[in-house]
């Protein structure tokens, strides 16, 4: 299965504390992927995820834009080419501090694919 990312619809992330964030579920169980999922997140300028934690990890690769990751009480600068591993249960938040879209891939294990 091969396709352009833009063929997958960007859905608004609906979670208290999240604002101006869309997600495309690029690879998940619908394609037969049983172990982990690939999502693309797009943050408007000023957009951010909730400051939250959950029992599964994130593996992140930043594609474009500028932002901040708060993870485990520390702040990290996000830009193209930055890789982030957020362990299970770590408190974290992504923010777009720039004036263009912040775009990243975020992979999670099947455990985190609630309702999908």
């Amino acid at each position: 299965m091969v396709f352009e990312y833009s063929k997958v619809e960007a859905e608004e992330v609906v979670e208290e504390g999240s604002r101006g964030v869309k997600v495309r579920w690029l690879i998940d169980r619908r394609l037969g992927a049983e172990n982990f999922a690939m999502r693309m997140f797009e943050f408007q300028p000023g957009g951010h995820t909730a400051l939250h934690r959950h029992p599964w990890e994130h593996e992140v690769y930043v594609l474009e834009g500028r932002g901040t990751l708060i993870s485990g009480g520390r702040r990290y600068e996000l830009r193209e080419g930055v890789v982030a591993y957020i362990p299970p249960n770590e408190l974290h938040q992504f923010r777009n501090d720039g004036d263009t879209t912040l775009r990243m891939l975020c992979m999670i294990p099947a455990e985190g694919c609630v309702g999908r």
Copy 2:
């Protein structure tokens, strides 16, 4: 754990049938990632992986360059923004047909992280 991808060394892929391909293991068990790994592959012009199969899937995102994926007997064009899901046991090969580096992320489940 947050870092620039270039901080991780690019190692030559050593496999019969592979040529001009390097891999950076960006996220794996060394960082505590128990479920799946993130690797970055870089193909020189003319470089290609072996035409092979294995019992684990690939989740791929193309970052730059031009190439071809052969998967399940079909050919697909690779360019920035292309997503590929290669199911377990499917015969596949990646090739750089362009005149610049072909660079992609390729995630695999822990099962495929042999010796790491």
